[in-house]
């Protein structure tokens, strides 16, 4: 055993040693789950999180998989505590939990939790969360237009899959009979179990090597450290109240009725509050955000990105909730960001992303070098499904990417997962070999241009998926009506859109950003265009060479180069006409 901490305080050298061990364990847990799993949403998209927690639900370590999962597990653990079967933990238990009113991020993200006992005492937990394809909700894969939380499918609250090491066969049987993709669901739960078992083994090895007291002291210190980092960064923001407002398209049922999102950031010294008062009331559909497991997680993530940007600072931030301590989140009960039971709260991703986008906008006046222009700040989450020849369902969940807003020193990245999302797409070829679907187009969007600016917005994606059997599509997306904004004289980006082309009459249906259980026929094709990001800074400041590059690469037209950027090109020779450009830009500046 290693030396015990002096006065309970570990020196920074030893702390670094334990920190490395923590991070390795979390990544190993995530790796097993990711590699073993069957459904594409876990295995390709890596929509999962994994880690170790102490008996008070503090994070010891957590994998860096998908931001939406990071920091969400402690809320699950608190929810389990309130609902636990038998009322207590036994060695060898494994619990499944997903109840949105007991701390879950949303119901498809099942948590698998294993208690860890050492010398007869509960000392912590190994846990992970993963998004499952189908838990038997009202429509296959995803839901939006549903009446309440009971339409979300199976709700687990502190249920034991294993009790004292023995499988609870009734529960396993129940699960097998209540999903359209039962085989994958069960196999993926088994992968989650393999991952928490590994976590338990590693945790005990760590405790054997360094003692429980030392391990827990290390995690407490690492949390204080992360908190210190965040506080120093918040203290650098001028005190004050900063506000921004945006609109969500609709609730997925009541068309044309936009929903306001209001963000007030109050900075006081080294702490801050994000107040969402003024945002829309809770919706009658599934378009609500669980407060503990999603709203708060999104706000914390916003400040990690903004203040502890991992690409800008060379000091890595430990993955624990220490950095959340200086941040308070307020959302009135009964609002879209804090719904009241039994409202459904499954379709919550796009609201989280808009929240982050608006926090950046609110702080733009005082942090011009750190914020970025408006991003797509949505997601496209599509559930395609149909019946196989054997009468069983096939269900496929697809996450489509967005685009970033222009940035103080660089263009917004194109066609890439945005803000809270960070998943991987499914190889088109793998898909076509295994499902009755075929991708017809997957490219950068070229029907509209990204927001112009000294640094342009990112370009969204266009993806066309053709169904090769009759079936259903449910689609959760946003920003068909409220384009990503430009910043500091940058131009606005472009809204997203979605169409379904009918195989029979070739008619094109223009779809709302969210629709549920749309019936489609074989050969029908859905095409999704994600929003383009807004520009940062005046287009007249963009380097003419970059404008030429954009035109040659098809990111900008000759007309836009001339009219918006004031750049005149000789396309035959593929060069900038320098003198004509100077004259054009002088003229444009004199007009403003």
């Amino acid at each position: 055993m290693e030396k015990a901490p002096k006065n309970g305080f570990l020196d920074p050298i030893f702390l670094q040693v334990i920190r490395g061990a923590f991070e390795t364990i979390a990544n190993e847990m995530a790796h097993v789950l990711h590699r073993m799993s069957f459904s594409s949403i876990i295995r390709e998209s890596e929509d999962l999180g994994a880690g170790l927690f102490d008996s008070q639900f503090n994070t010891l370590c957590e994998s860096e998989s998908t931001p939406m999962h990071i920091g969400s597990i402690p809320a699950y653990l608190r929810g389990i505590q309130d609902t636990l079967e038998d009322g207590e933990w036994y060695d060898g238990d494994i619990v499944v939990h997903n109840h949105p009113y007991h701390g879950s991020s949303h119901s498809p993200d099942l948590a698998i939790v294993m208690p860890i006992f050492h010398e007869g005492r509960l000392i912590g937990f190994a846990a992970n969360t993963a998004h499952h394809v189908d838990i038997g909700a009202a429509t296959p894969g995803l839901i939006i237009d549903v009446p309440d939380v009971f339409a979300e499918g199976m709700l687990f609250a502190g249920n034991k899959l294993y009790r004292k090491g023995q499988p609870n066969k009734a529960l396993w049987n129940f699960i097998r009979n209540n999903s359209r993709a039962a085989q994958h669901l069960v196999a993926d739960i088994e992968a989650q179990i393999a991952s928490v078992r590994l976590g338990k083994t590693r945790f005990l090895e760590l405790v054997e090597k360094y003692s429980e007291k030392t391990v827990l002291a290390a995690s407490a210190q690492l949390m204080d450290y992360a908190e210190r980092m965040m506080r120093q960064k918040i203290a650098a923001i001028p005190d004050g109240e900063y506000a921004a407002k945006g609109y969500l398209d609709d609730d997925g049922r009541n068309r044309g009725q936009q929903l306001p999102v209001v963000v007030n950031v109050r900075v006081t010294g080294d702490s801050l509050e994000v107040d969402l008062t003024g945002s829309a009331p809770q919706t009658p559909t599934a378009y609500n955000v669980p407060f503990e497991g999603s709203t708060k997680v999104a706000v914390y993530a916003a400040f990690r990105k903004l203040l502890l940007d991992s690409a800008c600072q060379d000091v890595p931030v430990p993955s624990n909730e220490g950095s959340f301590r200086p941040i308070t989140v307020t959302a009135p009960l009964g609002s879209i960001y804090n719904p009241v039971f039994p409202a459904s709260a499954e379709a919550r991703f796009t609201q989280c992303n808009r929240l982050i986008d608006l926090i950046l906008r609110a702080l733009a006046p005082v942090m011009p070098e750190q914020v970025i222009a408006g991003s797509s700040a949505s997601i496209s989450f599509a559930a395609y499904s149909g019946l196989k020849d054997d009468g069983n369902y096939w269900v496929f969940l697809e996450v489509n990417e967005g685009a970033y807003g222009g940035r103080p020193k660089s263009d917004g990245p194109d066609s890439i997962d945005n803000l809270m999302a960070n998943t991987r797409n499914n190889p088109i070829e793998d898909l076509a070999m295994h499902l009755p679907m075929r991708c017809e187009r997957y490219e950068l969007r070229d029907d509209v241009f990204p927001g112009a600016g000294e640094f342009r917005g990112g370009i969204g994606v266009v993806k066309s998926q053709r169904m090769l059997s009759d079936g259903f599509i449910t689609h959760e997306s946003e920003r068909h009506t409220d384009a990503p904004w430009g910043l500091f004289a940058g131009h606005d980006g472009a809204v997203g859109r979605c169409t379904i082309t009918s195989s029979q009459d070739k008619k094109i249906r223009h779809m709302s950003s969210k629709f549920s259980g749309e019936i489609v026929k074989s050969d029908d094709m859905m095409t999704y265009f994600s929003p383009n990001g807004g520009g940062y800074g005046s287009p007249l400041k963009r380097s003419p060479a970059k404008v030429l590059d954009d035109v040659l690469d098809g990111f900008c037209s000759v007309d836009v180069a001339h009219d918006v950027y004031g750049v005149v090109l000789d396309l035959e020779r593929e060069v900038v006409d320098e003198s004509a450009t100077r004259a054009r830009r002088q003229f444009m500046m004199s007009c403003t």
């Binding site: 920074p12 670094q16 594409s40 690409a311 070999m433 187009r441």
Partner: protein, 692 residues
């Protein structure tokens, strides 16, 4: 008959010559502007040393960072690409995952520095239809010719052809290449179905694009080297180290330079493999510690492990070329230690490099590094390190550690130096765990083999941290990669996509597997026979890449031979369950298994050369090698009067008890108290805990 191994790294070019007169080493600075200058100069010097004529060198084995450097410096060829209409931006979108979770200002390398710019990615009407591979839309040949006209106008130097589903049917890619070569005779062309014949469009296209990107400059270098050798009257046949731990002909590497992106580190692992064999040890963890990074690999049962193709990337671009499974971490002699603004302590990944280098170099570096810590602890003697070429400054090392670490943390310089070593050792130990424990291997069954000049200072600490029972220090730790080249045989590899479910439902499924295996074999035989090596024996091994139906990642399962019967398909199924269980600690015995591809490697074993034996000891014993004694601080903080020995003067079977330092030209081996160093018959040194 003489053979030369030459390993060109970022700083040094290392050479080793083996002939009947003996073994000769030489090291010279890498000629960065053109590696071949240093290579040829080194060969001439070595031959002179050995007293042989250059014509006597019959084989030259070469590890090169040329291709790697192109990817780092982003100065590859301007490429044009032909791709399926509707899918122009596969290379731009990638897998749509960001390199950072929590960042707004991140860079996306495949977008900011694309292998092929969008203007040169030309969509072509054509369509191969899944899952059968039949042609649905014929290739628009006129459009291909039009694209070539544009490429000519733009001065494009290499072309990539990547069509969807070409792994099912390569007819369009092959035809498009014919047209390109008609339109642009002599241009460098890569087609995706040939470079990486597997499912998954982004990875396949990216691999082909990388091949074209590094192709022209890499083959330019290799050809120039060949000419330079001829001009110098060096008639040796030239073999190039590939990332997979085998060498190939210059022609093969010019065609597929994507196979030599990890040429450099592969030599080290092969060196470790051979040194292990010389010490009769078949389970080895090699730790190659350089100035800025450490490469860590596991050798299991005398074989190097190959990376899962899903994990192979270079500089953020996926490259599905066979590569030795090694982990590189930012831990080396130049790794900088610091206390961050929030109070945490870090070592690496930032490095002082060789300019300015560690503080003790006296070249203006003020940041404390791992090398500085060794100096302060008395583990490196300032006048002996770096072969005495550079007098190191202990005062500067101490000052840097005192000011940047000790004072901010309120500890002594010695404690701070020990802390630096402890954290860097821990980082390496975690990386060792990730290549062993996390993959179902138990480090207690392995020996740690540290090399690189600084490696043997860390060997024992690493072995202790991971529970490995012993450390084997190779004969010449500073030049292990070059030695490894001498022990490396030819290796080629081919892959055939075949999607087949197991248990095999039909005779057809078994036949398809069998057919693929036969094609692999015949391709390999034609590769190997084209090398013109007389009396060579060919060693061909087959693997199936399998997954449970529905999974996204395959595992590699060995096959006995190319004769696939329903019986061997059954064994394959059984083996897959077992391998899955070993890798993940779990298997699904009832789930159907899908074969995704068959892969085969063809090898010509390296020339077997018996390692030279150390002389037997005389009556003088180890006193013969004694240099002097000095204070040295060990990991537990104890400072002991520690004797130094000249490692090259120790004889077979001799034992040196710790505490001791074994010093040789470019490496120092640390033998802590309670450890003993034993000189093995073939020159390696075993460090083991000993009874007191």
């Amino acid at each position: 008959m003489a053979r030369i191994g030459v390993d060109v790294g970022g700083t040094n070019t290392d050479l080793v010559l083996e002939c009947h007169q003996g073994v000769f080493y030489h090291k010279l600075p890498t000629t960065l502007e053109d590696q071949s200058i240093g290579v040829i100069e080194g060969i001439l010097t070595l031959c002179e040393q050995a007293g042989i004529r250059v014509e006597e060198v019959d084989t030259l084995l070469h590890g090169t960072t040329t291709a790697t450097n192109i990817t780092i410096e982003h100065n590859g060829a301007e490429c044009g690409m032909l791709t399926t209409d509707g899918f122009r931006d596969i290379l731009h979108i990638g897998r749509h995952k960001r390199p950072h979770n929590f960042s707004l200002h991140f860079d996306v390398p495949w977008q900011s520095r694309p292998l092929v710019r969008r203007r040169n990615r030309i969509p072509i009407m054509e369509r191969i239809s899944p899952p059968t591979g039949e042609i649905e839309t014929p290739l628009d040949e006129a459009a291909v010719r039009q694209a070539c006209a544009l490429f000519r106008k733009r001065g494009i130097r290499a072309v990539v052809i990547g069509f969807l589903f070409s792994f099912l049917n390569d007819a369009h890619e092959v035809r498009a290449r014919e047209i390109v070569l008609e339109e642009m005779p002599g241009i460098f062309v890569s087609i995706s179905s040939e470079i990486s014949n597997t499912m998954r469009e982004y990875e396949r296209f990216s691999t082909a694009a990388m091949n074209s990107y590094v192709g022209p400059p890499t083959s330019f270098y290799l050809r120039r080297l060949q000419k330079g050798l001829e001009a110098a009257n060096i008639k040796a046949r030239l073999r190039i180290m590939q990332s997979n731990g085998g060498v190939a002909s210059v022609e093969a590497c010019c065609e597929r330079p994507v196979n030599i992106l990890m040429s450099g580190p592969a030599g080290g692992v092969m060196g470790g493999l051979w040194e292990g064999a010389a010490a009769d040890i078949s389970n080895i963890i090699t730790v190659d510690i350089g100035g800025t990074s450490a490469d860590i690999a596991a050798i299991v049962n005398g074989e190097v492990k190959v990376k899962n193709p899903r994990d192979t990337e270079v500089g953020g671009y996926p490259v599905m070329a066979p590569m030795i499974d090694l982990v590189t971490i930012g831990a080396g002699g130049g790794s900088i230690a610091r206390v961050d603004e929030f109070g945490a302590f870090h070592v690496g990944p930032n490095s002082a490099g060789s300019m300015p280098g560690p503080a003790c170099y006296g070249r203006g570096g003020v940041e404390p590094t791992v090398t500085d810590a060794h100096i302060v602890l008395g583990r490196l003697d300032p006048d002996k390190a770096l072969n005495g070429r550079l007098a190191l400054r202990r005062d500067l090392a101490e000052k840097a550690i005192l000011e940047k670490i000790a004072q901010p943390l309120g500890i002594s310089a010695q404690e701070a130096a020990l802390g630096i070593i402890r954290v860097i050792d821990n980082n390496m130990a975690l990386a060792i765990r990730s290549t062993t424990v996390a993959r179902g291997l138990d480090p207690r069954e392995f020996a740690v083999m540290p090399f690189g000049g600084a490696g043997p200072l860390h060997g024992v600490a690493l072995a202790e941290a991971v529970g490995a029972p012993e450390v084997i220090v190779p004969v010449a730790p500073g030049i292990t990669a070059a030695v490894g080249l001498l022990r490396t045989g030819v290796q080629y590899e081919h892959v055939e996509p075949v999607l087949v479910m197991l248990p095999a439902q039909s005779a057809d499924a078994v036949e398809r597997l069998d057919g693929a295996a036969k094609r692999l074999k015949s391709n390999l035989l034609s590769d190997l026979s084209s090398l013109g090596e007389e009396n060579a024996t060919y060693d061909i091994t087959f693997f199936a890449e399998c997954r449970y139906a529905g999974q996204g990642f395959e595992l590699r399962v060995p096959l006995e031979n190319d004769l696939i019967s329903s019986n061997s398909a059954g064994n394959l199924l059984k083996d897959f369950h077992a391998i899955h269980h070993q890798d993940y600690g779990y298997s699904y015995p009832d789930a159907p298994v899908e074969v995704v591809s068959l892969r085969a490697t063809g090898k010509i074993p390296p020339q077997q050369e018996e390692a030279r034996e150390l002389p037997l000891p005389d009556e003088q014993g180890i006193a013969r090698a004694f240099l002097y004694s000095k204070q040295t601080v060990f990991d537990n903080g104890q400072s002991l009067e520690t004797p130094r020995y000249d490692r090259t003067r120790l004889c077979r079977g001799e034992q040196v008890r710790g505490p001791a330092l074994l010093i040789q030209q470019d490496a120092t081996t640390l033998v802590p108290p309670e450890y003993a160093a034993e000189m093995l018959s073939r020159g390696g040194t075993r460090l083991k805990r000993c009874a007191i």
